[in-house]
């Protein structure tokens, strides 16, 4: 091929890359619109919704997003994420109640505890795959559950109650739901932006490659185990962020937070919202938490309705709510 022909060829090739980079810009624009909508929601929500309910929503949205980072982007189904969520809730509660730490430090401590637990469990769990991986994570989570049940510091069946919200930085009073709401909003936004960055980083690209074809990634020279472990730790730490915040919202860390049903619930939220989408877990968490809240007077019927919603979801739109919307709009959300 002559030099000139080669140059022309190259120009056409580069020219062809135009439309997709437009598509990428379009996608980013869509994401910005969704971010703006979420921002608008959290600002006006306290006007017409009970703030504690919105805070609960934000905590579970964060938890589901953290879980989705592993399942949707790393292809790792953990069935033990309650350990990080609940373990962090106890850690934040202990720091605030026993040590009298301010909320920002109590939550930071909770994140640290969850990350360390994630590193330890992840190190042992990532050696196996698929159902075995899920079972090992479940087994670890059950260990944490029984520890929470038996240990003297966790309050056993009663849980850790009346966890105080001390003054932020030792200065700003956080005992009312009004001011604490804004702290939760800031935590949520930081968590979401951090996750958005992880997904759209070179590390995130590697993660998608592992989800698509793990042996091929190994043959390209990627040490996939290390990527999986780091994903596990990031996911656990962010679950801890959600759990620690939740403990301060409700002044309570209880066995419900570490029970295996919590691990199941987060799977449910992620699948209903759309696994592997960015905003799906937020939508899924909203659906589940809203249902639990507003149908609470129906008692155990809630679980049946939840199950029915899940079955309908799996049978009719497997991509989840956001997955389906993204398909309509021909974009990735």
């Amino acid at each position: 091929m002559s030099k000139q022909a080669e140059t022309t060829n190259r120009t056409t090739a580069i020219h062809q890359s135009r439309p997709p980079s437009d598509a990428r810009a379009r996608m980013t624009r869509h994401h910005m619109i969704v971010f703006a909508l979420i921002g608008l929601f959290v600002v006006i929500a306290p006007q017409f919704l009970y703030p504690v309910f919105v805070m609960k929503l934000l905590c579970f949205a964060l938890f589901a997003m953290a879980f989705n980072l592993m399942l949707g982007f790393g292809g790792l189904l953990s069935f033990g994420h309650a350990a990080f969520f609940g373990g962090a809730a106890y850690a934040a509660g202990y720091a605030a109640k026993v040590w009298g730490w301010p909320p920002e430090l109590a939550i930071a401590f909770a994140v640290l505890v969850a990350a360390v637990m994630g590193a330890a469990f992840g190190f042992l769990a990532i050696k196996s795959r698929g159902i075995y991986f899920a079972m090992i994570t479940l087994a670890f989570a059950q260990m944490v559950y029984f520890y929470a049940l038996q240990a003297p510091i966790t309050g056993g069946e009663d849980g850790m109650q009346s966890i105080p919200r001390n003054a932020l930085f030792g200065l700003v009073d956080m005992s009312g739901d009004g001011p604490f709401y804004w702290m939760v909003v800031v935590i949520f936004i930081i968590g979401v932006l951090f996750m958005y960055r992880v997904i759209h980083s070179p590390f995130g690209e590697v993660l998608k490659g592992i989800r698509e074809n793990e042996p091929r990634m190994i043959s390209l020279g990627y040490q996939v185990q290390r990527y999986k472990l780091l994903t596990f730790v990031i996911s656990a730490a962010l679950s801890g962020l959600a759990g620690g915040t939740k403990a301060l919202v409700f002044h309570l860390a209880s066995l419900v937070d570490v029970h295996w049903t919590m691990s199941g619930e987060v799977v449910l939220m992620t699948l209903i919202g759309g696994m592997g989408t960015i905003f799906g877990p937020i939508v899924g968490a909203t659906v589940i938490v809203t249902m639990q809240n507003y149908l609470a007077n129906l008692g155990s019927l809630v679980l049946i309705i939840q199950g029915a919603v899940f079955i309908v979801c799996v049978l009719t739109f497997r991509e989840g709510i956001v997955g389906v919307i993204a398909k309509w709009l021909k974009t990735r959300l």
Binding site: P202, E205, P215, I218, G221, V224
Partner: protein, 261 residues
Amino acid sequence: MTSRHDDGADYVLTAKGLTKVFGGIRAVDNVDLSVRRNSIHALIGPNGAGKTTCFNLLTKFLTPSKGTITYEGEDVTNLAPAAIAQKGLVRSFQISAVFGGMTVLENVRLALQRRVHGRSFDFWRSSKCLNSLEDEAVQLLEDVGLEDFLHDRAADLPYGRKRALEIATTLALDPRLLLLDEPLAGMGQEDIGRTSDLIKRVAETRTVLMVEHNLSVVATLSDRITVLARGAVLAEGNYAEVSEDPAVVEAYIGEPNDTYD
């Protein structure tokens, strides 16, 4: 040729006494293999001869029960598969190994990312820093004739194009030794021609070891052929030599189901 057989410097990859036992069955039995630099070396043999097992041993996807593997004068018998890939020994797979949900360009970019950005775990940076790799990715895809498919999903490519994409992805790592596992399997005549030309071009500056069933391609492409049967080396030499070897003829006729086209 045999007089220089012990001169290590001429060989990129040497395996000695390679053995793999699966629950009592010797899938690969005491195989010696030496791959000369800048040559195309083919590994052939009837079904079940242990070619793919041999491949998996050389790329460390399986651990040998016995034997040693030397690559560029270094003992790599106990290295992890990712580590050996980082040293420039890169394999392809029998079943087309592309990242189906990604675009053709993203497939190659992912390989370039490993070579250029190394083993970094930078989850705090924007993936926009990868855009600078795209020109080189386009170049690699032009070389394999995929310039019109840059933004197609890899899963939507026809079979032959997928193989071409796989080779482009492998070349993005700038490997010294390519191990191709049946690069032409399942291809139409037109794709076979294009891909074997590609392999020939690639081998001008690199070494290629391939498993291949299509004997006419093996005949025209390879400089040296090793014939395996029942896990052991049956014969070695150029095409003329091995095709007249009575043991080889018998092994192939004894297996009428094998592709002998």
